[in-house]
Point group: C2
Chain length 211, copies 2
Amino acid sequence: MDTTVQSTEDRIHEAARKVFHQKGFNGARMQEIADLAGINKALLHYYFRNKESLFEKVFNETFSQIVSNMTKIFLSEMALMSKIEIFVNFYINFISQHSYVVPFIINALYEKPEQLREIITRQNVSPELLLEQIRKQLKEEMGLDIDPLHIYVNILGLTIFPVVAKPLIQSIFAISDERMVVFFEQRKTIVPTFISNALKGYEKNKSLAKI
Amino acid sequence: MDTTVQSTEDRIHEAARKVFHQKGFNGARMQEIADLAGINKALLHYYFRNKESLFEKVFNETFSQIVSNMTKIFLSEMALMSKIEIFVNFYINFISQHSYVVPFIINALYEKPEQLREIITRQNVSPELLLEQIRKQLKEEMGLDIDPLHIYVNILGLTIFPVVAKPLIQSIFAISDERMVVFFEQRKTIVPTFISNALKGYEKNKSLAKI
DNA sequence: ACTATTTTTGACCGTTTGGTTAAACTATAT
DNA sequence: ATATAGTTTAACCAAACGGTCAAAAATAGT
């Protein structure tokens, strides 16, 4: 398949990403990462000082990837509802393909909250622009004075939660793999419709819109 | 404070719950559980065969607690929108107070999917009643032919996701602890309103309601 | 008071873990 | 060819881990 020659450092990095994503910091073994990269374990410590620093590198990369994609769409020049449609579509695909990523981040944040809070703030995502943009569009395109943070969190919750809770939903409701694929395809249209309906509801009754 | 004399087994059980909830299976140490219970490590293995069985006990208890509360509200005799209001209120409080519980379950399901899928199906929650009840109420109270699973997942996502992603939201948007409390208080009214608006939107335009 | 049973302990064991070290190998430049 | 710097390895280490064991302490039955 892939015949491109990777540098040792890249092979380690890729292997570490896979193992950390699947097993978390505590579940991951340095030996397993070395095996997956096809190298000696000592070579891991030659390129990366220790497990912590290797994990930090993976976490940083993963986190910034997720967040940058998240903001990119909402900072573009489109109508708000179009952004939401694209966002939902993109994220259901993305997280389905990288199903370990979000649990990995949630897990990491609960395993070592203090250390990661630092790392996150060091990345300074500066989401003020994002929220301001949403606030502006809610106002100008729909005449709504709603807290953009709540709307944004709603969008994230409707999109991300089902993907994260997939194993749970599948077990509880006894859904086959095939039906699960259909389920997520349906959500690509259902979620934007749901949000659109909700926002239109505020328009009809603007006295309730002040929150 | 609490002067009730607990049995050793209960003390172990409580200690195990706390440690497993905070650190997950891989992060938890038997020694730490023993210390927290104020007993010798060997006594752990006297009451519980090994780490796995102790974890299973904690997982079962936690999982059934979450799910039973989840279904109880929706199977009661009330109007759908009242159920949703009560559900959102209850769960924002519950998960805020037990903030480790949901990540614990998500984490567990990604750490050991096969074993837990068994355990979950063994508990057989039988959610058909729940979905059927929601479907019926959507139809009778609002005249909607919508897939109840999607609506239910939407309710869960809007309610649970923000609590799970709390450390993330707080770090990214630089929100103080006090503002975070306000944020969740706001959601207790915002989420039911959001859902109510969305459902009313389907009523207006029933051609879109078939999903 | 004595015995039998249950509960609790300290010391210990084999394995696994992240990490180190010194030596070997490779490539490059002179 | 030889010195030099960078790369890779096998062997090893101390600490931490889950788990065991035999003996001590506590409890209950007679």
